[in-house]
């Protein structure tokens, strides 16, 4: 399967890309606006306490307090913490904006040829694409950019969709059928079509795509909302934990300065995940876009991570889509070579994939060389009526085709009912039973043998499905084949289940049944008759090459129109959730070390014995507090690349995945800050900062 080396339209920008980092720094300051920051409760709380501490600092400067230098440093690092969080979000947005700008160039210049009188395709007026309303009819001629999303109602044209898909090979768009949808921003290369515009200004596919990659329309996903609630809850708990300390200290005969309390509070609240949460979401969406998939909502991306069952089309996903010849079985009395030569001649002018595969097979397996077609050879093309093809060379009439058609042909040639050669029927049955397609091969009234055409399963799909199974995802193959053929391919490819002779209703029913059992289903589709199933599925990926109806029914659009994309979509969904979980765990686990840094520092003045709790051996109380605050700020910057790139997804099953991530982010989150704070303390002490 080619999915492992999927072409990415836009390479992932490196973090150090100056074009993104420079504006992001500016953005980080702009985002200090409390109204913007309010959307992120943890960071909003952080900004409030930071502002409060700044006021206290000013007061202390005016009063000339002794600890001004220490307080100043704390305040500076608190502001850095807020700025780093804003910066993380700005970088994530910046990467999306870079993509959006390219897209936007396509849109702005477009002019449309709007028809003035219905029925008269020759009279049109030039208008700006932005002024088009849904229902307008426009004429598109070679070289024109199609001004908006719509449907071809007249004509057929080849269209270059590179602006949307990145794929420069033109595609055919024609009225009626499953290829009638056109997308604004794509270019007509040949012929003339009339398009009915379907989208209102500002809501076209391109517009949505721009907003999506920019993050402008980003709404919090269900999981993100729940996570935010958790973070707010933890923040409130830590308000209680810190706000009660001054009273306890007063009882013990000590005092704690507000700056120190703020420092403890800020290090305890989950600033790390709070700072990176929106960057993770934006980056997840961005990753999907780079895989050439557009999700209509973040909710859909999360649902992809939850998928239990994948409905996969056989053709293109499981198999190559064309049946290929794998053997030629001669009947008794006919040599293998004779049959092979006849097959070669009969297929000489056959340009279908099957025909070409027969030629390849004959040459490679039977060593027969292809000769130039004999003079006077008259080729008989395949037709749906006759269901056979071949060649007439003089009086010799070679045919290959469906069994009953060829048998009818031999009867006609022989002029009488001839008995089938012995073993012929057995071979035909064997091939059919194995899921292959038998073709009969005849020379006039004489049957020579059977060609075995087979649906060839793509290499390494089996491993891929096994991987999915380990992740608990069931794969279901959908095919129009009969149950026997379907079962053979299903077992060869290692899918868990199949639907043979599948109609759109079958798919819909299957989805509903699975959902009733509490499973989440993903599928992809392109035809109008797929639309109900796409809408019913929890994740419906519509092909960009499909109809408008399908594209509207699904909640994602695959610009490459590759049915295997579904697997990547699931992985990206999982990665998004994993990244959030990993950083949340990391953030919470960090608290242990921070407690051990700050608590002894706070209380040692009146209970000197609590110095024992200073397990890191931090040099002074002030240095301990400052080091914890600095660590808390720097860890945000350090984790930005991880937030943007995402935690690596491994198909090893949930239990193994959890063990691994817990070890890295849970245990790592416990240990790392002990080391980090100690190192920072050494630097702080060396520089005599506190």
């Amino acid at each position: 399967m080619e999915t492992s080396k999927l072409r990415k339209r836009t390479p992932a920008n490196t973090l150090l890309d100056l074009a993104i980092v420079a504006p992001a720094i500016g953005q980080a300051f702009a985002k200090l606006n409390p109204r913007t920051l309010m959307k992120n409760p943890v960071m909003f709380v952080l900004e409030i306490v930071t502002a409060l501490t700044t006021v206290l600092l000013v007061r202390d400067i005016v009063n000339g307090s002794a600890s001004v230098a220490f307080e100043l440093q704390i305040v500076i690092w608190l502001w850095f913490t807020v700025l780093f969080a804003n910066f993380a979000e700005a970088v994530a947005e910046g990467r999306g904006k870079a993509q959006a700008d390219t897209l936007r160039k396509t849109r702005t210049e477009t002019r449309a040829k709007r028809m003035v009188m219905p029925g008269n395709t020759e009279v049109y007026e030039g208008v700006l694409a932005d002024d088009l309303q849904a229902g307008d009819l426009v004429v598109c001629e070679p070289g024109d950019i199609i001004p908006g999303d719509g449907e071809v109602i007249e004509g057929i044209a080849s269209v270059n969709e590179a602006a949307i898909t990145g794929e420069s090979a033109p595609v055919i768009r024609e009225s009626g059928g499953d290829r009638s949808a056109v997308t604004g921003g794509t270019t007509v290369i040949s012929d003339r079509i009339i398009v009915r515009i379907m989208s209102s200004p500002g809501t076209s596919f391109l517009d949505r795509m721009i907003k999506l990659v920019e993050g402008a329309e980003r709404q919090k996903t269900p999981n993100e909302i729940a996570l935010n609630i958790l973070l707010v809850g933890l923040t409130i708990i830590f308000v209680f934990a810190t706000a009660t300390i001054p009273s306890y200290a007063a009882y013990a005969g000590g005092t704690i300065s507000v700056v120190v309390l703020v420092a403890l509070f800020v290090t305890l609240i989950p600033t790390t995940i709070g700072a990176l949460l929106s960057a993770i979401g934006i980056a997840g969406m961005d990753r999907l876009v780079r895989f050439n998939v557009l999700a209509m909502s973040g909710r859909a991306v999360e649902a992809a991570g939850d998928v239990d069952t994948l409905l996969l089309d056989k053709t293109g996903t499981v198999t190559f889509g064309n049946r290929l010849a794998t053997e030629i079985v001669p009947v008794s009395g006919v040599s293998e070579r004779e049959a092979a030569e006849a097959a070669l001649l009969a297929s000489d002018a056959d340009e279908t994939a099957e025909g070409r595969s027969i030629i390849t097979l004959v040459q490679e397996k039977y060593g027969v060389q292809r000769q130039p077609a004999p003079a006077g050879a008259a080729f008989i093309e395949f037709s749906a009526m006759t269901r056979l093809s071949g060649v007439d060379i003089g009086s010799r009439k070679l045919r290959k085709g469906a069994i009953d058609s060829v048998l009818r042909f031999t009867r006609e040639q022989a002029g009488a009912a001839t008995p089938e050669p012995p073993g012929f029927r057995a071979t035909v049955d064997r091939i059919a039973r194995s899921g292959g397609t038998p073709l009969a091969l005849a020379d006039g009234g004489r049957i020579l043998g059977v060609i075995h055409l087979k649906d060839v399963v793509k290499p390494d799909v089996k491993e891929r499905f096994a991987e999915l199974r380990r992740m608990g995802i069931k794969t279901v193959m959908i095919t129009g084949d009969n149950p026997v053929t379907a079962a053979t391919i299903a077992s060869e490819a290692g899918v868990d289940d199949f639907i043979a002779e599948a109609t759109p209703e079958d798919k819909l029913r299957y989805i509903r049944d699975e959902q009733a059992q509490g499973r989440l289903i993903a599928m992809c589709g392109d035809g109008t008759n797929d639309a109900p199933a796409l809408a019913q599925a929890d994740v419906g990926v519509a092909m960009q090459s499909g109809t408008q109806a399908a594209r509207e029914a699904g909640n994602m659009v695959d610009l490459d129109s590759s049915p295997t994309k579904l697997i990547e979509v699931v992985e990206i969904g999982k990665q998004l959730l994993m990244t959030r979980g990993a950083l949340t765990t990391f953030s919470i686990a960090n608290d242990v070390a921070k407690y051990f840094a700050i608590i002894p520092a706070m209380f040692v003045a009146f209970y000197p014995q609590l110095q024992v709790l200073n397990v890191m051996g931090l040099s002074t109380p002030q240095s301990a507090i400052l080091s914890a605050i600095i660590f808390n700020a720097l860890i945000i910057i350090a984790l930005i690349p991880l937030a943007l790139k995402g935690v690596k997804y491994r198909p090893i099953g949930a239990a193994a995945l959890l063990r691994r991530n817990l070890l890295v982010y849970g245990a790592g989150g416990l240990v790392l800050p002990f080391i980090g704070i100690k190192l920072i303390d050494l630097v702080v002490a060396a520089l005599h900062l506190a």
Partner: protein, 567 residues
């Protein structure tokens, strides 16, 4: 520490593990409304009760109806108990001639008994008439225990049911719980306690002449019947002031062992009920394992701390462990074990003075309560408290497997997280908050028996115990003042009901959800990994919040003691 001591601890654990599936199976049948071996006897009584009260037992309730029914039931219970306390002087069964209980103490006591706390700012034998002990206190011991159990069952139903709007019928659940679970155990249990030497009489206090010729009044009463439910229902309110340290309330080492078994029995069995109802007993065992890990860690520390004694005592030539405040008939291990069990579960009965424990030995009971009484916990309350932590754990770590977190087939989403956090955050607000006020409020400070960190621990312990609905006292603190009576009652009421209402909201939300089929991609919640994770989240989210307070209380005291300073 001795081998025989550890053997007692191991034996205790083994018996609890053995009881769990048996009692769990029985209780599952009771709450599923299935036939049990007691049905032939009890069914007529049960049916008669429903008929008298006009309850339609087939009618299922929405979570809100269920919760409102529960709250109304408690308002009624509160009013009756308060009235009994205030009017006891004019009511019968008062051979000792106890006078009316003061309003603030009556308020505190009523709040204490309806919330399954059984915090006692009074001495039982010197304050309460037999009528109050039986009709008021023992009665609430049954009902508050039954309430806790049925709320846990309702929450379990939320997990177990799919696409349902209802979580059971409160009246039916409470009736069945009392009739089929609590009474059938308590009646033989009380008789056994009588056989072990516990009084059970309505007769007056006995006057005796001591060897020196002094006259002594020996308090007796209907003790055994109250002690049985006090232990089984994790209530903990003693008939006597000295609670389970009193020879009439805990005569022998055997009665002591029996009592600690009965504290954990129902709480542990409920984990099995959970497993059975959600269709996988291993889910229940995982919860019990997490509780077990925390429990054993606590026992080990307290036993070690008490058995090691203190350097100050050693310096005086007193070798061995710390026996101050302990009964010689129990010794160190039975006292340490009792202290950890009574605070792990929300019982609160004590057989030794926690105030006299070493600083670290006394810190463990405090931590047990601060974690929210989820280590087996109060009957029912322990399980729903634990499930709240499970919701948080599954949500935090569940994302790490790349799926929307789910637990026993239910997706954990915004609503569940919101309710779980709401319930969890009320604990620190109550005990940290009230303690913070008390330690700087001079009249409250005056109640402390000791200065410095030890006095601080007394106050922290008091509010912790009341908020967590434990009811054990560190002692030392003079709690019967209007200030402590009132604030303590607030802590008990908020600590109980602020947990319950969100837990029930979760039950309702979960019941409505579809049950998701488990697969290889599902976050595993039965193995050791999950148990470890749950313990970690409980300690970090639930425990770290108290580190500053603990540092200023027992930790500072312990370190000072090592340096030779005592408080």
């Amino acid at each position: 520490m001795t081998a025989i001591g550890w053997l007692q601890i191991v034996l205790f654990c083994a018996i609890i593990v053995a009881i769990t599936p048996v009692l769990g199976a029985y209780m599952t049948r009771v709450f599923n409304g299935e036939r049990t071996w007691l049905t032939p006897v009890l069914r007529p009584v049960e049916a008669l009760l429903y008929r008298t009260a006009g309850i339609d037992e087939a009618r299922q309730q929405h979570w809100l109806t269920y919760t409102v029914a529960m709250l109304l039931f408690h308002v009624g219970g509160f009013v009756v108990l308060y009235a009994l306390l205030r009017l006891q002087a004019v009511l019968p069964f008062n051979p000792a001639g106890q006078s009316a209980v003061a309003p603030d103490l009556a308020f505190n006591t009523a709040a204490s008994f309806i919330t399954n706390t059984n915090w006692q700012n009074y001495g039982g034998e010197s304050t309460m008439s037999y009528l109050v002990q039986m009709l008021g206190l023992t009665h609430q011991n049954f009902l508050s225990a039954a309430t806790g159990i049925v709320l846990a069952v309702a929450l379990i139903r939320g997990f177990a049911r799919a696409s349902a709007n209802t979580i059971g019928n409160f009246w039916v659940d409470v009736t069945r719980c009392t009739l089929y679970v609590l009474l059938p155990i308590c009646i033989p249990y009380a008789l056994l306690l009588v056989w072990l030497g516990m009084p059970q009489t309505l007769g007056a206090y006995v006057d005796a002449t001591t060897l020196e010729g002094a006259k002594q009044t020996i308090a007796v009463g209907p003790v055994a019947s109250q002690v049985a439910i006090k232990m089984l229902g994790t209530n903990g309110g003693g008939f006597f002031n000295a609670n389970a340290a009193h020879p009439f309330e805990n005569p022998t080492a055997f009665s002591n062992f029996l009592q600690i078994i009965s504290i954990f029995a129902i709480g542990a069995a409920l984990t099995n009920v959970f497993g059975r109802m959600v269709g996988n007993q291993r889910q229940g065992w995982a919860l019990l394992a997490a509780m077990g890990v925390l429990f054993l860690a606590g026992v080990a520390v307290t036993y070690w701390a008490e058995a090691s004694g203190t350097s100050t005592l050693h310096a005086l030539g007193l070798t061995g462990g710390n026996m101050e405040g302990k009964e010689v008939r129990f010794g160190i291990v039975a006292s340490a074990l009792f202290a950890v069990i009574t605070t792990a579960a929300s019982c609160g009965a004590v057989n030794a003075m926690h105030d006299s424990f070493t600083a670290l030995g006394g810190m463990i009971p405090m931590i047990n309560m601060q974690l929210g009484e989820i280590i087996v916990g109060g009957v029912g309350a322990g399980l729903y408290g634990m499930l709240l932590f499970v919701v948080v754990t599954v949500f935090v770590a569940g994302l790490m497997v790349g799926r929307t977190p789910e637990y026993v087939g239910k997706k954990i989403e915004a609503k569940e997280v919101k309710m779980a956090m709401l319930a969890i955050l009320i604990l620190p607000l109550m005990y940290l908050g009230w303690s913070a006020v008390a330690v700087v409020y001079p009249p409250a400070v005056a109640s402390m028996a000791n200065a410095g960190p030890h006095g601080f621990s007394e106050v922290l312990y008091a509010y912790t115990s009341q908020t967590a609905n434990n009811g054990s006292a560190f002692a030392g603190l003079t709690g019967n003042t209007p200030y402590y009576n009132f604030t303590g009652a607030m802590a008990m009421l908020v600590g109980r009901f602020w947990m319950i209402v969100p837990a029930m909201a979760i039950a309702g939300a979960l019941a409505q959800k579809k049950t998701v089929a488990a697969s290889g991609g599902t976050f595993p919640t039965t193995g050791g990994l999950f148990v470890g994770l749950l313990v970690g989240v409980i300690l970090i989210v639930g425990g770290l919040t108290f580190l500053p307070a603990l540092a200023l209380g027992p930790i500072a005291e312990h370190l000072a003691m090592q340096a030779g300073t005592l408080f």
